[in-house]
């Protein structure tokens, strides 16, 4: 059987397993990734099957985890690192930004850094502080890093394969509140390129662009809008660095309206980049300014307020209405 219905967490697990079977240089490193299988069980069972030498429970030191992964990569290994939660990547941010991102260029391309950094990110699970953040723009802004995020199990599976095979450092953001969402995974399909956007819903009146956890919200918004006779196209970006601007442009030139949706704060976020680029590329096609829906310029709030903070169906539909009103 090559087609299975899997939750995202399990799809990543299967993908890691396959990568480890295929290439003895693939290592998994992180806090609690061994016996516990990670706090989200994404690495469940891997240490049992591949041993402590390949699925490595590390000391509780994120800078150490990424810094040593860099060294292992320099020695020919392909480490896949788990950062337990989004808010805990910052002790490692120095290593990621000042070292991991730049080494290939500084070595005139002579060395490669095939390091994958997995980060469960985003809100909606009722967690405490530092467990619900969306720091993707902070990484996408850094030259030398690639940043991706799957929104379904098939992408979770295949994008992980591609990330591990890539010789570049890849920040792989996992939408933690979608971990248990199931969809079909064909483990023998030939996947599209890692950085290509995908049309999830075709439409003609307006384009919604999203990635990771917000794709589902946008698909629901498109369905709700369809009931009111509006035809909304939903594009899953899949990659936040690089961004498949050609796909966004093609969609916008068809629908003439664009709303970008993400959980991260709007200010200086991915939406700002997309709005600016598309305005440059497609100014004369646009019937309305590019609108953005996202988090506020406020710390991610305590759990009891997160539904107010996170873009939901209403906020997306409100933006759709505002765009269509131009």
């Amino acid at each position: 059987m090559t087609v299975q219905k899997l939750p995202i967490a399990k799809a990543i697990n299967e993908s890691l397993r396959k990568a480890m079977e295929n290439d003895p240089k693939v290592l998994i490193m992180g806090e609690d990734v061994g016996k516990l299988g990670g706090v989200f069980r994404v690495t469940d069972g891997l240490q049992k099957d591949f041993g402590e030498g390949r699925v490595i429970d590390t000391p509780l030191a994120e800078s150490g985890i990424v810094g040593t992964a860099i060294g292992l990569a320099l020695r020919g290994y392909r480490p896949v690192v788990e950062i337990q939660f989004d808010g805990f990547v910052f002790p490692a941010y120095d290593q990621i930004v000042t070292q991991l991102a730049k080494m290939h260029a500084r070595a005139l391309g002579k060395i490669k850094l095939p390091v994958v950094i997995r980060i469960p990110y985003g809100g909606g699970i009722g967690a405490v502080e530092h467990h619900s953040e969306s720091p993707e723009a902070l990484f996408a802004h850094v030259p030398g890093l690639k940043v991706v995020s799957p929104s379904n199990a098939s992408d979770a599976y295949w994008m992980m394969q591609q990330a591990i095979q890539s010789d570049d450092p890849i920040i792989y953001f996992e939408p933690k509140r979608r971990y248990w969402d199931k969809s079909e995974v064909d483990t023998e399909a030939i996947p599209g390129p890692l950085h290509k956007a995908r049309t999830v819903v075709a439409g003609s009146d307006l384009t919604l662009v999203a990635y990771g956890p917000m794709v589902k919200v946008c698909v629901e918004a498109a369905a709700a809008a369809a009931e009111e006779g509006k035809s909304i196209e939903v594009l899953d970006l899949r990659s936040m660095s690089p961004i498949d601007f050609d796909a966004v442009q093609a969609s916008v030139e068809k629908t003439r309206r664009l709303v970008v949706v993400h959980e991260a704060p709007v200010f200086y976020g991915a939406g700002a980049e997309i709005a600016a680029r598309i305005t440059e590329r497609s100014f004369y096609h646009l019937e309305a300014p590019v609108l953005r829906v996202g988090g506020y310029h406020a710390p991610y709030p305590p759990a009891r307020l997160e539904e107010e903070y996170l873009p939901g169906l209403d906020r997306v539909l409100d933006a759709v209405d505002r765009s269509l009103a131009y």
Partner: protein, 383 residues
């Protein structure tokens, strides 16, 4: 000179490393202990406490009420009233012993598990629950009890404590600062850097590491190959291991380290050797990685039971004391339960509060947009 002997600031009996005295057993000198798991009072060459029966009963009361509070919070999490709870079960002696060693003007930098220390500081227990219920990210004024906010990012607060202590020294004050962290956190760069800074600047700070043997699923061996207290030596200050389930030893050792800090002699690392009897938090499942026998072995070293045995054997507490404490516990549990249930959800506009001290134009703009958007629902214009 061994590390633990450098910790002995009081000259009394400091040369005596082993051997028994006055008929009382001397426990493992590597592990400061004044009360054995069997509730027997023992001597240590370097540390001692002299407490009245009333003071001993006070420590016992603190531990019992802290455990009761903790159990209530765990139950409240199971009932859906809290989103998460980090229990301190088993760590009461480490927290009450060290917490009761503090003076009012000392300053505490906790992690997310220091409920017993908070109790000693007079923080209203309900305040601790706000962040676990998800209504705020802290919710108390750190300066009203000299008890800083809980810190979730592990190890970060050790640097804040060090900087605060550097400020105390600059001000010429004689108070001290204490930073709590776990054995797992000891691996963080921040903790290493706080050791460096505090040593270099001779900061009046006590590092209180509760080695509860586990960092979620990872045993201490995944963090270090030498006993944690020995690390201090490499930084140039004393390190000492204390029986973290012995409230008397924790009190004695912390007091001595705080006094040393007050005298301007710099930092001390205390490793309280204890055990996390429950799960890491209510989201954790220790059956995935931990043997039941281990917990059972540590249950025999329960910090509360051993003090109870001692109090009973010495005739320091009678039945009436235990009964009334039992009633007091129940009252506390009930109060906490009621207070949590009555805790209102925050106003949604709180999202935009206290982001900047001086304000920010973008926040003002977003706040206004948010309010207008919310109002559109109230007017029946929303969906």
């Amino acid at each position: 000179m061994t590390v633990e002997s450098t910790a002995a600031r009081k000259p009394r009996r400091s040369s005596k490393r082993t051997g028994s005295s006055a008929g009382k057993a001397v426990a493992d000198p590597q592990l400061v202990q004044l009360l054995t798991p069997e509730g027997q009072r023992v001597e240590h060459p370097d540390y001692d406490v002299d407490l009245t029966p009333e003071e001993l009963r006070g420590l016992y009361r603190d531990m019992v009420l802290t455990r009761r509070f903790d159990a209530e919070a765990t139950a409240l999490q199971r009932q859906g009233e809290l989103g998460l709870w980090a229990s301190l079960l088993g760590q009461e002696a480490a927290q009450i012993g060290s917490g009761r060693a503090l003076r009012d003007d000392d300053y505490v930098f906790p992690t997310y598990r220091e409920h017993g220390v908070a109790w000693c500081r007079g923080v209203n227990p309900t305040n601790l629950l706000g962040m676990f219920r998800g209504v705020n990210h802290g919710g108390w004024d750190p300066n009203s009890n000299n008890f800083h906010l809980y810190t979730i990012v592990i190890g970060s607060q050790t640097l804040h404590a060090t900087g605060y202590a550097m400020g105390v020294a600059k001000d010429g004050a004689d108070s001290a600062v204490i930073a709590y962290f776990g054995d797992g956190a000891s691996s963080q760069g921040d903790v290493a850097e706080s050791f460096t800074f505090s040593a270099v600047y001779n900061a009046p700070v006590v590092f209180f590491c509760q080695n509860n043997q586990w960092a979620i699923s990872e045993p201490t061996e995944k963090q270090t190959r030498v006993p944690l207290y020995q690390r201090a030596q490499g930084y140039g200050f004393p390190g000492i291991r204390v029986d973290g389930n012995d409230v008397l030893a924790c009190l004695a050792v912390t007091r001595s380290a705080l006094e040393r800090a007050r005298r301007g002699e710099g930092p001390t690392l205390i490793e309280a050797f204890t055990y996390r009897m429950g799960a890491h938090t209510t989201s954790d499942d220790p059956t995935k990685y931990r043997a039941d026998e281990e917990r059972e072995a540590w249950e025999a070293k329960d910090p509360i039971l051993r003090l109870k045995t001692y109090l009973e054997n010495e005739g320091h507490a009678d039945e009436a004391f235990f009964t009334s404490l039992e009633e007091e516990s129940e009252t506390l549990g009930k109060q906490v339960r009621e207070a949590v249930r009555a805790m209102p959800d925050p106003d949604r506009m709180a999202i935009f509060e206290n982001i900047y001290a001086d304000g920010h134009a973008l926040v003002d703009e977003e706040r206004a947009q948010f309010a207008a958007y919310q109002a559109s629902f109230a007017d029946g214009e929303g969906k």
